[in-house]
């Protein structure tokens, strides 16, 4: 097991008081696997991802559970130890490529800084490796990009630079937090393809966070569906896509535009996610669930299906 998150609970302290954001989230990633985490904004998927590198602001408190990377307790690490993980063992790619790079530092310098930090090489060697890293993300003219500033690059190119940063000292895990949401559709496909190829070449596992279940279908071996700070369903991608009984996952799949006659309107999941301050005691999807019954006001059981497929729903039986 490369990454193992067990019963992770987390709260934010805000002006309005303490808000629970994650409620006993558990997930795991094996070496070489591409694992998707899918859910709408506010479902806790980004927070889960950032917790792995402990990147959350000081107002976040871990209230329970553990995160283990190769057996090491991440939450118990000192700042120095966690810095050794970041960028070296675990790389991270963020959603917004336009703002993810330092505007006043040349691309090459930003890469070389990270390379020197993790590989302890000379400046000249780091520069050489930086150009190599740019070539590895399929930049046409890596020498030129090396000398450029972020504002001189397009969104897709910047996102490749961010991928190059994360992959420069090939990590064992790459966390990609909505890496293509801000990009054009064609560029999206390129960046996803690039990440998949890099993962295959280097054997890096990928944790892919997205709100787009279509991306999951194309990329991932396994998937976790999150809603309201909990995992509501998990399993192999094809199991979840084709044999899901969870009303929320079904709604996500039905909202996909693919393979539908144009005349049929896109299905939109009605309602909004609950206010984080008013967590329901029973099923988190209660407010919006089309199939809810009285017993859903109690916490739903986890139903086990084939190949490790798990559904947290009273109606989860096939």
């Amino acid at each position: 097991m490369l990454l193992e998150i067990t019963d992770l609970s987390l709260s934010f302290h805000t002006l309005y008081g303490t808000m629970p954001v994650l409620d006993r989230v558990s997930l795991s990633i094996e070496p070489g696997e591409i694992v998707g985490i899918v859910g709408e904004s506010g479902s806790g998927k980004s927070v889960t991802a950032q917790s792995v590198l402990r990147l959350l602001d000081r107002n976040a408190t871990y209230t329970g559970g553990s995160i283990r990377f190769k057996g090491q307790d991440v939450l118990g690490m000192k700042e120095k130890e966690i810095q050794g993980l970041r960028g070296k063992k675990i790389g991270m790619v963020f959603q917004e490529p336009m703002t993810a790079l330092n505007p006043t530092m040349r691309i090459g310098k930003q890469l070389a800084n990270v390379i020197r930090k993790h590989q302890g090489v000379t400046q000249a060697e780091a520069d050489r490796l930086a150009v190599e890293a740019l070539a590895a993300v399929q930049m046409k003219d890596p020498q030129k990009v090396f000398r450029q500033y972020p504002h001189e690059l397009s969104g897709g190119m910047r996102q490749r630079v961010v991928v190059a940063l994360a992959m420069s000292s090939p990590p064992e895990l790459l966390i990609a937090d909505e890496p293509t949401t801000a990009l054009d559709v064609t560029v999206q496909a390129e960046v996803l393809k690039l990440m998949k190829e890099l993962s295959t070449q280097t054997g890096t596992s990928v944790m892919l966070i997205t709100h787009d279940i279509g991306v999951v279908a194309n990329m991932c071996d396994r998937v976790y569906v999150m809603y309201g700070g909990t995992v509501v369903e998990s399993g192999k991608t094809e199991e979840v896509l084709f044999h899901s009984n969870h009303p929320y996952t079904r709604a996500l799949i039905e909202a996909l535009p693919e393979g539908k006659p144009k005349s049929q309107p896109l299905k939109v999941i009605e309602g909004e996610s609950f206010n984080a301050r008013k967590r329901p005691v029973g099923c988190v999807f209660w407010d919006r669930c089309p199939k809810r019954t009285a017993r859903c006001q109690e916490k739903p059981p986890v139903v086990e299906g084939l190949n490790g497929h798990r559904i947290a729903c009273w109606e989860g039986k096939r």
Binding site: L55, E79, R86, L101, N102, P103, N113, V114, K117, H118
Partner: protein, 334 residues
Amino acid sequence: MWAVIRNRLLMLIVVIFGVSCITFLMSNVIPGDPARMIVGVKATEETYQRVREQMGLNDPLYEQYLNYMQGLLTGDLGTSLRTQQPVIEDLITYFPATLELVLYAFLIAIILGVFIGVLTAVKNNSMWDHIGRIFSISGVSLPVFWSGLMAIILFYGVLGWLPASERLDLFIDAPPTITGLYTIDSLLAGDMEAFSNSVLHLIMPVSILAFVHLSAITRQIRASMLDVLQQDYIKTARANGISSSFLIIRYALRNALMPAVTVVGLSIGSLLGGAVVTETIFNWPGMGKYVVDSIGSLDFPAIMGFTILIAIGYVLINLLVDLLYMVLDPQIRE
């Protein structure tokens, strides 16, 4: 970039033209009757008329303005009524003392201000942050003329540690003039006695002046640093294992300095205003004391000459600041 510089230079000409109009109005129109002020109420009608004629006050206004502009362009700011010297010469004489005071105050304020600003931003909401905050609010709230007096009472009156007026003790000769800054000239001349004495004389006025400016810089650096530390690229760098100290110095500070540079340029205006008051309190023989003495004797050519010179200098400083901004920001540089 060149287009920006050209635009700035054009703006500069418009602004300097406007500045000259305002100072002309202030020296020739608003004060009522400058001739009467010069000759006094007891003078005969004949003398009064002669002075009016001499001053060109009987000419039409536009002619007066043309004369004024002509003088300005040739560096003629008129003759001081008090010293009977050309104002420009007086100001040149007093300039080095002001420069020495303002320059040291500025440097100290910048260095300490950036340091404290970064510290309080990084330790946001900690005890250091609160102390830094009270410190900087106090700085902008202190009347310089009063804090100067209080410092003199304590360090000169009670403790007797520091001199409270002039640039050197009476019995010490000024070093030969090279730059006009006594600290530098005395070092160049190898005169250690004059050097240490001039440093002693600088300590109080420089600290008093720097304190006000320091507060303004600290506030600005803290604000822009807090802003930058929330940016995505800081998170990216952090996610890639860049250590905190490297992150703050190499990634955050430079970006935080950019908005601060403009504000620092503008706050030099308050530094110059503060210098006028500081020089007055510490009997510092610079341009500020010169202008306050001129105000005391209603010496309009001197007051307006000083004002227009400072305004032009201030505009030029801000032009330099804009250029510096372009150097710092690669997005504008091309």
